[in-house]
Amino acid sequence: MEIVVCVKRVPETAEAEVVIAEDGRSIEERDLVFDINEADNYALEEALLLKEKFGGSVTAVTVGPEKADDVLRMCLAKGADKAIRLTDERFKGSDAYVTALLLYRAIRDLDFDLILTGCMASDDGYTQVGVTLAELLDIPHAVYVKKLEIEGQVAKVHCELEGGLEEVMEVKLPALFTIQTGINEPRYASLLGIRKAMRKEIEVLNLDDLGLGEEEVGESGSKIELRRLFIPPVEKEAEILEGKPEEVSARLVEILKSEGVI
């Protein structure tokens, strides 16, 4: 089973402070820690589990700067066989469609049965690249996959809907699935393992290698234009109770009792 996994290097912003950069269209990256996008990590694990079950190979592909090699080496350390990085200054400012186009160019000539990627990137949150890629490759797809079973050339997927509901679909391979977190338990890649993976080659492709023109990528090739980033206006502010734990908890109980909540 030949599997391609699309991964992305993203900053971890859940706990960290996010500051908008001076240009107003990006964020300050200096103090942020970068790692593989969480959902992509689950997609990678799913691919590795399928490889363990069916044999074959796993290829990790990313669109990103040279630093994205950290993520690719981690994928290789965990068991991916090949890694491809698409890097070019001219890719900067690409919207979701263009990103999918870049991946399409790199992947279309590969031999694959399955493409897996995370359902959403935690930085831009587009939730778009995977499905667009499937369309460009002319293969069927499904999203928010929580369970994936393969029998022959057919995949049976459980897709997460809203409110705890799931739908079961049958999809013919080759297909692309966007993977939801929680589908499996990702393994660990040790530092030694990642160092050993440095011996494996990472294929780097640029704009010319992909056979695209400058006007087809980056800001000029994008149909969606990012005008500006801004901190969301605060609609409501909670009344913050101040003081030591003993004090705030007493105050809270007082408030809840007086409001008839408890």
């Binding site: 990702p186 393994r187 660990y188 040790s190």
Partner: protein, 374 residues
């Protein structure tokens, strides 16, 4: 199992006579399927050993009682670490361990705390920052748990008060301090341990560090015994403070009238032989009455905080050794269990609650008692 050959030579397994002194002294063998004597037997006899699914391997607290008791110079504790290493390299470890290792690599601490918040505990205390250019004679290596855990931050603050009272010229590394790696190594992530060792050693070099004092016996242990090629001297704070008291640099103005029993942390006591200094500190605090439990010094009962156990439930969470220890302390008539290790502090304090002794006995770090007397 590929590492079999390595384990046999690294841990002198061929010397093993299967006497069982190791398992006989292993604190967790009371409640776990972990049997280190038998594991060594299996490694020696079997061509290949499947350790996957052997969750009892993670019950080990690396207290090293086994290695200390062994009459033949075998290192049973290292056998466990070696097996864990194989599991770590294979990637198949418990999610909590995985998260701790990833956090330590990315953030420099196992708690997922942002690096930018590592020195937040010191805000307003005007402590010299050696990494920011300040010069100081002594590096106070705070450690991850005292830096990020609110309960243990009190210990760091108490130490700082004592340093200042005694006129010690000290500084911290602030945000540039990274995990010492003691637990990391014992969880089997040798590569990450070496990475941390390099980072910290580079920092010590770069900032001309000559003397280090640590809050945690775990940091002390690895700096003293496992870090290579350093030209610095390291002490646990109990040694440093005991010296200060002896030199008359610390004086007490208040009485702390408490009956105190002291719990010897494994990494300070049985592994590094520091038994007297903590006791000297306690007895020098006016008002403190020191009563001893029977399992003290080399025989101290491990609290199950070391060896990664802060992040692993263990196969038998119902029977906690820390609860046994608390009961033992209560039976001495003590009001306070004093200790000198962040993990012992947290585990014993937790055990006081779960064993139902809240309000009857208190767990405090030696420095907290000392600070009360300043």
């Amino acid at each position: 199992m590929q590492i079999r050959g390595e384990l046999i030579s690294k841990c002198n397994l061929l010397e093993c006579i299967q006497c069982g002194k190791c398992t006989g002294g292993c604190p967790v063998s009371l409640k776990s399927a972990l049997n280190i004597r038998r594991l060594i037997y299996e490694v020696l006899i079997r061509e290949s050993l499947d350790i996957r699914g052997r969750n009892e391997l993670w019950d080990c607290t690396t207290c090293s009682t086994c290695s200390i008791r062994c009459p033949k110079g075998v290192e049973p504790a290292e056998v466990i670490v070696g097996m864990r290493s194989a599991l770590v390299e294979g990637g198949r470890i418990q999610p909590t361990i995985r998260d701790v290792l990833e956090s330590t690599f990315k953030y420099g601490n196992p708690w997922g705390g942002l690096r930018s918040k590592r020195a937040e505990w010191a805000q307003g205390l005007n402590i010299k920052n050696i990494a920011a250019g300040d010069k100081a004679e002594v590096l106070y290596f705070v450690g991850c748990t005292p830096a990020y855990d609110p309960r243990v931050q009190e210990v760091a603050k108490a130490l700082v008060r004592a340093f200042e009272k005694a006129g010690v010229d000290f500084g911290i590394l602030g945000e540039e301090e990274s995990c010492c790696g003691n637990e990391i190594r014992r969880m089997g992530e040798e590569g990450l341990f070496e990475f941390l060792m390099e980072e910290n050693s580079k920092n010590f070099e770069r900032y001309g560090v000559k003397r280090i004092v640590t809050t945690s016996p775990h940091c002390y242990n690895t700096f003293k015994n496992e870090y290579q090629g350093g030209s610095w001297e390291v002490q646990h704070y109990t040694q440093f403070i005991a010296d200060l008291i002896e030199l008359g640099k610390l004086s007490f103005s208040r009485e702390v009238k408490r009956i105190v029993t002291y719990h010897d942390p494994c990494f300070l006591g049985k592994q590094n032989g520091v038994y007297e200094e903590p006791r000297r500190i306690l007895t020098s605090i006016p008002g403190v009455e020191l009563v001893e439990m029977s399992r003290i010094k080399e025989r101290s009962l491990c609290c199950e905080g070391g060896g990664g156990r802060m992040w692993v439930e263990g196969t038998n969470p119902q029977e906690r050794l820390a609860e046994l220890r608390v009961r033992e302390a209560v039976s001495t008539g003590a009001e306070v269990i004093a200790t000198a290790c962040p993990f012992c502090l947290l585990t014993l304090e937790d055990a006081v609650k779960t064993a139902g002794y809240e309000g009857k006995i208190q767990v405090m770090d030696i420095m907290e008692l000392l600070a009360e007397a300043l």
